[in-house]
């Protein structure tokens, strides 16, 4: 029987660009290039490796995002995923994590799945909570923050390196897995992969397809509200000295002046 893997990938503004908020205090997606969240590349990579080990597996990549988010799907397809689902709807603008997870959960259920894989956190919101929320909504085990993952005989196992201990985890499928950037370098799409991706199917779903009311999502339907966003003032230029044999001592002098010594 085929192993159905759904990988959730997010389209985010490039972290090395000048990221800003717009007037309605949502992320400005127009002035900075978007891309597949780098941390989700690790999720795609693990899906590809799990699929390689399985007799028969199909990888669907799923995103909730604006028109341009298709770029993120294309990248994942060019890495080797089989097909893609894009949930896109004007009413989704400004959706928070509760709304996004609701949409993802409905889409995942509609697509059908045995295993859901996500990144550890997006590189824009960086909340790192969506995987746990999704597991709760789907009612499946959460096997999260894995630095190693394996799927065999309907069981997923993995290693989670926590704050105080490293844990070995195990759960039965269907399950939700999130992987960290320690799980293994993501592959680069090959030229062949990029060409093949152009022919792979990308389905577009809207809120109606998922039987979600507009007021359950978007800025208005949000469970949270951002009241203000202010750019941090640039740090005032510090003192910079060149080491000419006394650099360590000069630094010690500075630290003493600041009462750190």
């Amino acid at each position: 029987m085929s192993l159905r893997i759904v990988v959730c990938v997010k389209y985010v503004p490039d972290a090395t660009g000048d990221r800003q908020f717009t007037e309605d205090l949502t992320v400005n997606r127009d002035d900075v290039d978007g891309l597949l969240s780098e941390l989700d590349e690790y999720a795609v990579e693990q899906a590809l490796q799990i699929a390689d080990e399985a007799d028969d597996a199909e990888i669907t990549v799923l995103t909730v995002g604006p028109e341009d988010a298709k770029d993120a799907l294309r990248k994942a397809l060019s890495m080797g995923a089989d097909k893609a689902i894009h949930v896109e709807d004007d009413d989704l603008h400004g959706t928070d994590v509760m709304g996004t997870s609701l949409v993802l959960a409905k889409a995942i259920e509609k697509a059908g799945y045995d295993l859901v894989i996500t990144g550890m956190a997006s590189t824009d919101g960086t909340m790192g909570v969506l995987p746990a929320i999704l597991a709760e909504r789907l009612g499946v085990p959460q096997v999260t923050l894995l630095s190693e993952v394996k799927v065999e005989d309907g069981t997923v196992t993995g290693r989670r390196d926590g704050d105080t201990a490293s844990e070995q985890l195990e759960a039965s499928l269907p399950a939700l897995v999130s992987v960290t950037d320690q799980s293994g370098e993501a592959r680069y799409p090959s030229f062949k992969g990029i060409m093949a991706a152009k022919k792979k199917p990308v389905e577009s779903w809207d809120l109606e397809d998922l039987e979600i009311e507009a007021d359950e999502v978007g800025l208005e339907g949000s469970w949270t509200k951002v009241d203000s966003a202010a750019q941090r003032p640039a740090r005032t230029a510090g003192t910079i000295v060149k080491d000419e044999g006394e650099g360590g001592k000069q630094l010690a002098e500075f630290l003493a002046g600041q009462k750190f010594i």
Binding site: M98, E136, T144, D181, Q182, S222, K225, Q231, G248
Partner: protein, 320 residues
Amino acid sequence: MAEVLVYVDHVDGAVRKPTLELLTLARRIGEPVAVALGAGADATAAVLAEHGAVKVLTADAPEFTEYLVVPKVDALQAAYEAVSPAAVLVPSSAEGKEIAARLAVRIGSGIITDAVDLEAGDEGPVATQSAFAASFTTKSRVSKGTPVITVKPNSAPVEAAPAAGAVEALAVTFGALATGTKVTGRTPRESTGRPELTEAAIVVSGGRGVNGAENFHLIEALADSLGAAVGASRAAVDAGWYPHSNQVGQTGKSVSPQLYIASGISGAIQHRAGMQTSKTIVAINKDAEAPIFDLVDYGVVGDLFAVVPQLTDEIKARKG
């Protein structure tokens, strides 16, 4: 006065500092009721009371250690139902965030993660967050349900505020999802005797410039001279020179100490995301153009192999 649930992060009864900081914030918006789970939960009561907990709800069961996260969500939910609080505060550890997140779904509430400050507002608590690698500061609130907010370490002072801290047993029934993910093995992290990275007042970090695991003792010696925690960049961690648990940055620990010293670290955006809110930033780097110098209060352009040992010696000499 409204009650505020505070989830307690502790190790065998020893309460970790971020929880005491949460009590300070909780008192701004109501009366803290602490929830302590697992082995040693009862032992947390004294210190929690000293810092303002009017009540400490405790529960222990093998489920808390044998299964991942969900049993703790069941318990926090039981506490939520027993107390009907005005807000739920949880420390922003990886696990804390997951517990908070699942509780928020269950009680139909919005969630705010990684708050760096919290104050009372007309429409409920207002949280300050730091966005886009700390280049923005936002103020937000939960607009549906009971606010669930996770708070980063070092976001508030620890303050003594003696309260009753009466211990009460919390009755917990585990749901079907609680036993979904089994913890089949656990290797505790070895203690180095140094302060915990996220809680430390001073952090000394090394990057690719340290050029080998065998040279990290220079960074450690500097850290020890200051009573600091040791951090590392991802480049140093990926090279296997230092454990991943010491990584500072977007996918490592996020630190906000009084003093951060970066040696041989260029200051990539992902590294900055984890240390930019440090109060005082110092860098030692041989490249005058390294982006880390844009952040510093004091920078030394020089070879860390010369500067760091000299600095360590000078600190030791001054401390006598």
